[in-house]
């Protein structure tokens, strides 16, 4: 959605896109990549700010103040600095397929951080409830910091961000507040699970650490973890958010959509995972396991990831996605038909996943957790 292929972008390069990086551009391949000059194309959201302002955190006040206190103390302030651990990266010597997938990984990470920053800042600015605006200000700070750090890694690879979107027509979409909680809670927690799984794996297999940025994943994902904690608390302020029948269906929908998307997306980066020495299927299941375990803090159920139909559904989703992509490449009427069939198959696969009964559990009295993986 937010990342465009070099193919689509060729011919749209602007001088700013290559700002300060021309000397690093040697091969045609690298130039192609650098032409991703709509690099950052975040969505712009608006929401029901009155509803956000009406949130009352009194019933979670103790945990809330503890969490905000930790975030304000900003233990990671000094973390995002390049030090001696930042080894020189041999970008030119990197296998082109790995380089392409790794850069795609960095760009999508940077865009996600950036989109989060835009969303949080907007909420901070428009809101008037001091608890809420303070939280969003702190989270916007972290996201902007992460985006800056990834941006630097991209610059080393000869890729400069372009903020051309600022002066392009942008449409504001709408997010209901409760969907912001469901979606961002999950995206922060699954982000934590993803980064920590890679970090722990590379601790055991440092020979697979092909870029120093992975060394920073541990503290980085602790930020994601505490953002997730904040959203868990927000959801706890109103029990209906996780208990009403309709909202339970929404939670299941978000879990299924996020897990499914992650599965498909990671399978699009086989070379990247191979270089890390990570079996992508194992990795996916491991991330789901961790995320499910963590999400028990607030969601009343988890997806049954060990159900036989779960893997089958994911694989079908993956096949359908490959077909959609092939249709897009093919273009023309035949391509459109292929895309249409692929989309229908993806919807069917999603329905299969969604129909699997969930696993219920008792929720703890206090939601607060520490990163434990």
């Amino acid at each position: 959605m937010n990342i465009q292929t070099p193919k689509d972008l060729n011919g749209h390069a602007s001088p700013t896109a290559l700002h300060g990086t021309n000397e690093a551009m040697t091969s045609e391949k690298a130039t192609d990549v650098a032409m991703q000059d709509t690099l950052l194309t975040p969505r712009f959201y608006t929401t029901d700010f009155n509803e956000l302002d009406a949130i009352n955190v009194e019933n979670v006040r103790h945990d809330w103040d503890t969490l905000i206190g930790q975030m304000e103390a900003d233990p990671n302030k000094g973390h995002f600095k390049k030090n001696a651990d930042w080894d020189t990266v041999d970008w030119d010597g990197m296998e082109p397929a790995l380089r392409a997938e790794f850069i795609d990984f960095l760009i999508s990470s940077c865009t996600a951080e950036f989109s989060g920053c835009v969303l949080y800042k907007e909420m901070k600015r428009r809101g008037s409830n001091p608890d809420i605006t303070q939280l969003f200000q702190l989270m916007a700070r972290d996201e902007a910091r992460h985006a800056g750090f990834i941006n630097d890694a991209l610059r080393e690879a000869g890729i400069a961000v372009n903020l051309g979107f600022l002066t392009q027509q942008k449409k504001y979409t709408y997010f209901r507040p409760k969907f912001i909680y469901y979606a961002t809670y999950l995206s922060e927690k699954i982000g934590y699970a993803r980064y920590i799984t890679i970090f722990r794996h590379l601790e055991k297999h440092p020979e697979h650490r092909f870029h120093p940025i992975f060394k920073w994943f541990e503290e980085w994902c602790n930020d994601e973890f505490s953002h997730g904690e904040a959203f868990a608390l927000l959801m706890k302020t109103d029990p209906k958010l996780t208990e009403s029948r309709q909202n339970r269906l929404w939670i299941k929908f978000f879990l299924t959509a996020v897990y499914g998307t992650m599965w498909v997306r990671d399978h699009q980066r086989p070379v990247f995972h191979e270089a890390l020495g990570v079996d992508v299927t194992w990795y996916g299941m491991e991330v789901f396991r961790k995320t499910s375990e963590i999400s028990k803090q607030i969601y009343p159920f988890t997806l049954d990831i060990d159900h036989p139909r779960f893997r089958k559904g994911l694989d079908k989703l993956q096949d359908a996605n490959v077909q959609i992509a092939a249709g897009k490449r093919q273009r023309g009427v035949a391509g459109k038909i292929k895309q249409f069939i692929g989309t229908a198959r993806a919807a069917a696969a999603f329905a299969v996943l969604y129909s699997i009964p969930v696993v219920h559990h008792e929720r703890p009295a206090s939601t607060m957790m520490e990163p434990a993986y």
Binding site: M1, T5, F44, N151, D152, Y172, T173, S187, T261
Partner: protein, 98 residues
Amino acid sequence: MGLFTRSKETAPCTVSISHRFEELSAHVRFDNGAVIHPGDSVLVQGAEIMAPFGEIVEESRTAVITRASGLERAWTRLTGDLEFIELCEFSFSEEVTV
């Protein structure tokens, strides 16, 4: 706001960009307190803005706000939520290699 008609208005705005190692961010703020509603579009006029690496840039510009029609607004309210996946680090790209 009509059900089918859009309207346009202009608003002074401040664009701020931080393009530094410690922070990458960019925001547009409306100086007259204009409020954006679902489905509205915003176009900041003038040349592309970019801060050189290591710097913070703030510029005053004019933005044209295209107000969505009533129908568009309702549609955006109904469907906007589905774009949530954007916030995930593994958000979709169209680049499929498998």
